[in-house]
């Protein structure tokens, strides 16, 4: 197992350049160690200066004490010596040191560390002279190493302008880690110094190099316990899935899965007849962070710094669901964030005790700061030097093999002719390079993966999520259901409306007109507001219902307590919960679009339901609810409530009580609802009824006309574009 470094031949360097680069890197390593020693010495001297014992002794012996303190202060602040090195201590001295840095004072240790980083950059430039010849890049290097932030910003802007964002990013990529570290060490922000030191000395990063924000704070954005759901591949994907275990087949599968949150687990029968398993994980999706998938930008950051993330937890759940036996041999193949997540699993002791991770192949992944828990795991890392992503761990082309903490890995760090980021980060580009320029590396990795070369026996794709979704309609619909027989077949009660649109228009009508509608129940009295009675015309588009989707138009009269009617009950009662409310809406006419809904309306709730053509649309602020006759939707509607709903204020949803009548009882049913409701106090819509016998035959139209609603505007409207509700069966009341 040897470490291999392939440098591309797109820009051949001068003879001996490789040897110079190696010498520069080795010298850089030694210089960085010197920098660490100087830093340690300064820190200890600062600690002595700030020690209480020293201070007490100086007070007791001011002459000798002041002289000793002065010589220490001189040692820690001399520009010709340690520079301004008070920041290495603790307490007040550290604050003074940080304040000095804000004012532009540098310590010798920082300057030596920067020299080490510049030597690493020089090593890259020796191997790739084309970078040094680029005037924009040279200007950027000069500005960064000269601690001229404004100039550096201008140089970067000029690079972006001249080359475009893609080429500028890929130009900077080989030196990205070094430039970030130099800037961190030289800038006036003391918070990011530690990251600069971590890059300079080849340690794992614990914060971002630009602002110094701690990794744990960045990782906190990637919240979720992780979830995995087995999903099928579509026909085209199934055909394209690799059927033979090989590096290119595995990478092809990852490319096929894209970055929509899916991973793949396969069983492969090796040449020795043993069935082994291959886990294949894609990288992050470009664009904004998404809450539904761990394959996004915040997920990638989280995986970079945090060994546990929703991605790794989701993969573990997928493995459990797949039924991988304990002790099974498994190879992990990942691209970009997928490679980091899989490496996080490989460095997990518990995971490696449970399974034997034999191979880990990461393509375009920043995994240099990670290490498998099982020392037997064979690791291959393929990175393009113009790809910015693998440098995010602080180890770029400048680190070379000198700063690499794992000489036993198979590393392919190459440079190709295309200098376009993010194109060079795509898996397709990496696969193309492995097919053509890196054929030798491909063969080497394939040879290492020999135990996994053979026919694929089983493939299962899992959709990973940041967190498991609650069941549909939770918590409103989390109730026991029971079947009830109707003439149209069994219906589950309560009936659940998962996705509906609702609009309830309230009209004020003369009490005499309402009396005719409620005449069969003399004890049922309409609720009054002043001298008027309130009538509701409700329009619903039920898109997802346990009854099946249907539309609905209903007319109802607001009625008082059936036993103890009191004036203005309706207003007072609105403040009560539905189950303790005595008032409600007596439905006098109901038009629905399906026989099942009509049967449920009649038999469960005692409502005079009939099937009809009902169309309900709430688009933006405009309602279009129509009831069509036998002529269908092409003919003018028999009844229409259309127009602009006007301005609204948000309003809470109020559960409602509905009354229906059977031959010998009144049925009381409750509607519990969820979702946001809007209250329109000045709607500009109007109800219109068509003239003619067809309209007269339709009960809802007839009643609307009888109530004098033809041409009327509602008092107010309640609308809910997204509405959920559940409605239990009607409870018979002895009235």
């Amino acid at each position: 197992m040897a470490s291999h470094h392939h440098a591309g031949a797109a820009h051949p360097a001068e003879p001996g350049a490789a040897e110079t680069a190696r010498m520069l890197r080795e010298a850089a390593l030694e210089v960085s160690r010197c920098a660490l020693e100087v830093r340690g010495a300064a820190a200890r001297a600062g600690a002595v200066l700030g020690s209480p014992l020293f201070a007490r002794s100086s007070l007791r012996h001011p002459r000798a004490g002041m002289a000793a303190q002065w010589s220490l202060v001189r040692a820690l602040t001399s520009a010709a010596g340690l520079g301004f090195a008070l920041g290495g201590g603790d307490g007040v001295l550290k604050r003074i040191g940080q304040a000095g840095e804000v004012c532009g004072r540098e310590s010798l240790a920082n300057r030596i560390a920067v020299t080490s980083l510049r030597m690493r950059a020089a090593a890259v430039l020796a191997e790739h002279p084309e970078l040094g010849r680029d005037p924009g890049m040279r200007r950027l290097m000069d500005a960064v190493t000269g601690d001229r932030d404004v100039e550096a910003l201008r140089a970067l802007r000029a690079l972006l302008k001249d080359k475009g964002a893609e080429r500028a990013m890929s130009t900077v990529a080989p030196l990205f880690a070094e430039l970030s570290a130099i800037r961190a060490l030289l800038d006036e922000n003391p918070l990011n110094d530690e990251v600069g030191w971590q890059i300079a000395t080849g340690e794992a990063l614990h914060a971002d190099p630009w602002f110094g924000i701690a990794a744990r704070h960045l990782a906190a954005f990637d919240a979720g316990e992780g979830a995995a759901v087995a999903v099928p591949l579509d026909e085209e994907e199934r055909r394209a899935l690799g059927t033979e275990g090989s590096l290119m087949d595995f990478l092809g599968n990852i490319d096929l899965l894209r970055t929509d949150g899916r991973i793949l687990i396969q069983d492969v029968r090796g040449p020795d007849g043993v069935v082994r398993h291959v886990l294949q994980a894609p990288g992050m999706a470009p664009g904004k962070p998404r809450n539904d998938s761990p394959q996004d930008f915040v997920g990638a950051w989280s995986n970079l710094f945090d060994p546990e993330s929703p991605y790794t937890r989701g993969i573990l759940l997928a493995i459990d669901e797949y039924g991988l036996p304990a002790g099974a041999e498994i190879a992990l193949v990942g691209h970009s964030e997928g490679g980091i997540a899989l490496m996080n699993l490989a460095q997990n002791n518990a995971f490696c005790r449970r399974f034997r991770v034999t191979h880990m192949v990461a393509v375009g992944s920043p995994i240099d700061n990670k290490k498998p828990a099982d020392p037997r795991t064979w690791v291959a890392s393929v990175t393009n030097q113009h790809d910015l992503v693998p440098t995010l761990d602080g180890r770029g082309a400048g680190s070379g093999s000198v700063f690499t903490p794992h000489p036993d890995w198979y590393e392919v760090d190459y440079i190709d002719s295309s200098h376009e980021f993010p194109l060079c980060h795509t898996l397709g580009k990496y696969m193309g390079n492995l097919e053509a320029e890196l054929a030798g590396a491909r063969r080497d990795i394939d040879e290492a993966l020999t135990p996994y070369r053979g026919p694929v026996l089983r493939s299962q794709v899992y959709q990973l999520k940041d967190r498991a979704n609650p069941p549909q309609g939770y918590p409103l619909m989390a109730v026991p259901v029971s079947p009830v027989a109707t003439s149209a077949g069994p219906v589950e009660t309560p009936v659940r409306y998962y996705d509906s649109t609702a609009a309830v228009a309230i009209f004020a009508v003369d009490p005499e007109r309402v009396a005719g509608l409620l005449s069969d129940a003399s004890w049922m009295s309409p609720s009054r507001i002043g001298r008027r009675v309130l009538v509701a015309l409700s329009a619903y588009e039920h898109r997802c219902v346990s009854l099946g989707p249907y539309n609905e138009l209903s007319l109802a009269v607001l009625v008082n307590d059936l036993w103890r009617p009191r004036a203005h009950d309706v207003v007072r009662e609105l403040l009560r919960r539905a189950d303790t409310r005595r008032t409600g809406r007596q439905v006098t006419a109901l038009a629905v679009t399906t026989p099942e809904a009509a049967a449920a309306g009649r038999e469960l709730w005692g409502q005079p339901a009939a099937t009809a053509l009902v169309d309900v649309r709430l688009a933006g602020n405009r309602l279009n609810a129509t009831l069509s006759g036998p002529g269908g939707t092409d003919a003018p509607p028999l009844l229409g409530l259309t127009g602009d709903l006007g301005p609204y204020v948000p309003a809470p949803h109020v559960d409602s009580v509905l009354y229906g009548r059977t031959a010998d009882a009144t049925l009381r049913s409750m509607v519990h609802c969820a979702g946001r409701q809007r209250f329109h106090a000045a709607p500009r819509l109007r109800l219109r009824c068509a003239p003619g016998p067809a309209a007269e035959e339709e009960p809802l139209v007839r009643q609307a006309r009888a109530l004098g609603l033809d041409g009327a505007r509602p008092l107010c409207v309640f609308s809910a574009p997204e509405y959920q509700a559940r409605r239990g069966a009607g409870a018979p009341l002895p009235r």
Partner: protein, 98 residues
């Protein structure tokens, strides 16, 4: 960075010893930087700034080592004065007893 070499219970002599050790470490850093400069000097492809910068920083290390040694000496004098002061009352008390 954490400083683990200086403890609260260290006395002045221990702190002086550490400063002296650090002065030697800085002198060692100077030698190593000079060795790197010598190794890179005259190599084709090595940037012009590299060797002079290493030498300059090695000089700074030398100066820092001297400063640190001087500080250690100052601390030593303070430690000696403190020790003498502690010892004096005890000696006086012993003579009174005799």
């Amino acid at each position: 960075m954490t400083v683990d070499a200086v403890r609260d219970d260290d006395d002045l002599s221990a702190q002086q010893a550490r400063l002296r050790a650090d002065a030697e470490a800085l002198a060692g850093a100077e030698r190593r930087l000079l060795a790197q400069a010598a190794a890179l000097e005259g190599r084709p492809g090595v940037p012009d700034w590299c060797v002079p910068t290493l030498r300059r920083q090695a000089e700074c290390c030398r100066a820092a080592a001297d400063d640190m040694a001087a500080a250690a000496a100052g601390l030593g004098r303070l430690a000696a004065r403190a020790t003498t002061r502690r010892a004096a009352p005890r000696t006086a008390a012993r003579s009174d007893a005799l």
